[in-house]
């Protein structure tokens, strides 16, 4: 695996945050690597296991449990639309449909484990229907990569997609 020196340095520094148990660094390491690689392959999981003196299963069980870790590559921009009650009341199901239609992506299946997102054919966007993003007062909300958008109607959704061309 090709890990840039700068990233490996960041990884080594992160491990020092957990002086009692290196195992605690599993989540932060997976975040760092997913940011860099887009998803966690079994090769990546093995690398993390080795780095932290763990068995590969100790890493894989984390990747398969936590919804934010992806086992398959997303699009260049990953969109998360909040599905939960306040957002649903404010129209997030329609927002998901609008976004899928405008970005020409198949509608993802209902939020679930595994790989619940869909990727457009051109690989530009991927979209996922996620549980509560904790901004119920400005529903409906979505995220594109790490950017957060509130009160998103169809027009705003179109603008957001434009922004990430």
């Amino acid at each position: 695996m090709d890990i840039p020196a700068e990233l490996e340095q960041k990884i080594d520094e992160t491990i020092t945050h957990y002086p009692v148990s290196k195992r605690s660094a599993v989540l932060p390491l997976l975040h760092l690597l997913q940011e860099h690689l887009g998803y966690i392959s079994s090769e990546t999981a093995d690398w993390v296991a080795k780095k932290l003196d763990l068995q590969p299963i100790n890493v894989l069980e984390i990747v398969t449990f936590y919804p934010m870790f992806r086992a398959a590559p997303p699009g260049r921009h990953h969109i998360r639309v909040c599905r939960t009650l306040s957002c649903a009341m404010a129209g997030s199901y329609k927002l998901l449909n609008d976004l899928c239609e405008m970005a020409h992506i198949e509608r993802p299946q209902h939020a679930g484990h595994g790989t619940p997102f869909t990727v457009g054919e051109d690989g530009k966007f991927s979209i996922e229907f996620v549980e509560c993003l904790a901004s119920c007062g400005t529903a409906p909300v979505c995220m594109v990569n790490d950017d957060f958008y509130e009160g998103v109607n169809k027009e705003a959704a179109a603008e957001i997609l434009q922004k990430y061309q």
């Binding site: 945050h17 002086p19 009692v20 148990s21 195992r23 605690s24 660094a25 599993v26 989540l27 932060p28 997976l30 975040h31 932290l52 100790n58 069980e61 984390i62 449990f65 936590y66 919804p67 934010m68 870790f69 998360r80 599905r83 939960t84 009650l85 306040s86 649903a88 009341m89 404010a90 129209g91 997030s92 199901y93 329609k94 998901l96 449909n97 609008d98 239609e101 299946q109 209902h110 939020a111 679930g112 484990h113 996620v130 549980e131 509560c132 993003l133 904790a134 901004s135 119920c136 007062g137 400005t138 529903a139 995220m143 790490d146 957060f148 958008y149 509130e150 009160g151 998103v152 705003a156």
Partner: protein, 499 residues
């Protein structure tokens, strides 16, 4: 884009949210220091550690995460002379649907949290602390990391803080989208790098065996911020805010069918549900009528608008008398919300108007809990999925006559039968929605479906509701309307998908 209310409402008393939406306010340490920041930490460091704990005990501060457990009592479980290291964890996993207060503290006033945490670490003698922040707040994590670096640079964190001899280090730890990490022992497991399966307790609570099997305190973001204000005014003075046993201020997060949703920091119990919705949130949207309120995050039991609630109240002579009140007269405090059969929980108030169908609303909630059950205990793992399937089916128009009774039975067999409180969290919505809006559930449960009388050769107990399986429904409706894949998600051209 919508914006929340930027000006505090006159009924508010802003302590924790003093700097949220404040003109000219920035998140850097100089802005914070220019406003008297870290003075309370300096003050606390001159006090003895037990004195700080005693001030918090005297304040009556109750945890703001959901359970409302007295913070000082929790701290009191820690033996300060413990031979093992003591840890403090800030629970910033904010994930109860309807709750969004910590988001604003973290994004707009990170140093308040850092100061509150260092004071709390000093009080319980913790030298290492973590902020467990939900994965969906990547920006918040960066803001906190910057704030911690600034505090370290200025000597408010790290070795020998302000020359006191007290060392303390805090790190940010990001979660990855799992609701169960808000449960404190699940959080601890997650911080240890494992799946967040909650631990069995009693006998050992985190204050005895927590992170790495050492004494650990887990407190919510808002709770830790309150500590700073308790040191500022003294526990006894703080206790005068709010109501007896419900002291301090509380941030209420309102979402749903109101004109102006948003956050409001009020003295606990100083506003009623009606004042909150009608005065502070500008009333119901589109002139519609109030139908139901979930008062403390989506796991709190729903309250019906046209129901009368019995509470006990002290009259002018100090005698406790029974009183019957309507939903709008319920004061928003811990004890009253518990007395009317729900809970103050995390302060997330979700308001529904008369256009909402309660079966569809419950179906949405059940989808959430089915997704978020960690799968450790059978009643919850299986039951949350059953409830999800049944409410999906009811919304699709395929509800069987026995479905409401089965829903209740499934929920009743989860609550109280699991390792952690998730069991209650997923059962309470179903129990309360089905009981309080029976007519709506019956209306969606019209199909005659004959269930199997025998399951896997074992005769089911007489009188017990029998789960109808989807294939039986399919058989009963063969030749009828085809069932859509995900029934309650309506097609794109209709207004809906909304519940």
């Amino acid at each position: 884009m919508v914006s929340l209310i930027k000006q505090p409402h006159p009924r508010e008393k802003r302590m924790i949210f003093k700097n949220v939406d404040r003109p000219g306010w920035k998140t850097d340490i100089d802005t914070y220091l220019g406003d008297g920041g870290y003075e309370q930490l300096k003050k606390a460091l001159t006090m003895s550690q037990p004195d700080v704990v005693n001030e918090v005990k005297a304040s009556g501060l109750r945890g703001r995460g959901g359970a409302g457990f007295p913070c000082g009592v929790k701290w009191g479980f820690i033996k300060q002379d413990s031979p093992k290291p003591i840890y403090l964890i800030c629970n910033a996993d904010e994930s109860e649907p309807g709750t969004f207060k910590d988001r604003y503290i973290i994004h707009q006033d990170p140093h308040q949290l850092v100061e509150g945490m260092v004071i709390s670490c000093y009080a319980v003698n913790a030298r290492l602390a973590y902020i467990y922040i939900r994965g969906e707040y990547p920006e918040g994590a960066k803001i906190l990391e910057t704030a911690l670096a600034e505090a370290r640079e200025r000597g408010f964190l790290g070795k020998n803080i302000q020359g006191s001899g007290f060392d303390c280090e805090i790190y940010v730890h990001r979660g990855a989208g799992a609701y169960i990490c808000g449960e404190e022992t699940g959080l601890i497991e997650s911080l240890e790098g494992k799946r967040p399966y909650p631990r069995i307790k009693p006998p050992y609570f985190p204050a005895v065996l927590g992170l790495y099997q050492c004494p650990t305190i887990v407190n919510n973001v808002e709770t830790l911020c309150h500590v700073k204000h308790i040191i500022a005014m003294g526990g006894a003075e703080y206790a005068k805010i709010g109501r007896p046993n419900n002291t301090g201020t509380r941030i209420l997060c309102v979402s749903g069918d109101v004109q102006k949703p948003g956050y409001f920091e009020v003295e606990v119990g100083s506003v009623t549900m009606g004042e909150l919705i009608n005065d502070m949130c500008g009333g119901m949207k589109d002139g519609r009528k109030l139908k139901a309120i979930i008062p403390g995050g989506s796991s709190a039991k729903v309250l019906r608008a046209d129901e009368r609630y019995k509470i006990k109240e002290k009259n002018a002579e100090g005698v406790t008398v029974d009183k019957e009140i309507g939903i709008e007269d319920i004061p928003m405090d811990f004890d009253t919300l518990a007395a009317v059969g729900s809970m103050a929980g995390s302060g997330g108030v979700i308001v529904m108007d008369d256009s909402r169908n309660m079966v569809e609303t419950l179906a949405n909630i059940n989808e959430f809990y089915a997704h978020e059950s960690c799968g450790q205990c059978t009643p919850c793992r299986e039951g949350s999925l059953w409830m999800q399937k049944i409410t999906r089916r009811m919304v699709s128009g395929e509800g069987a006559k026995q479905d409401p009774a089965v829903l209740k039975s499934v929920a009743d067999n989860i609550a109280g039968k699991t390792i952690c409180a998730f069991g209650e969290a997923c059962a309470w919505p179903t129990q309360s929605f089905v009981a309080k809006f029976k007519e709506e559930f019956d209306a969606k449960a019209q199909r005659n479906v004959t269930p199997r009388e025998v399951s896997d050769g074992v005769a089911l107990q007489a009188g017990r509701p029998v789960l109808v399986h989807d294939h039986e429904v399919a058989a009963a409706s063969a030749g009828g309307v085809p069932k859509p894949d995900a029934p309650w998600e309506v097609s794109n051209d209709s207004k809906s998908g909304e519940v």
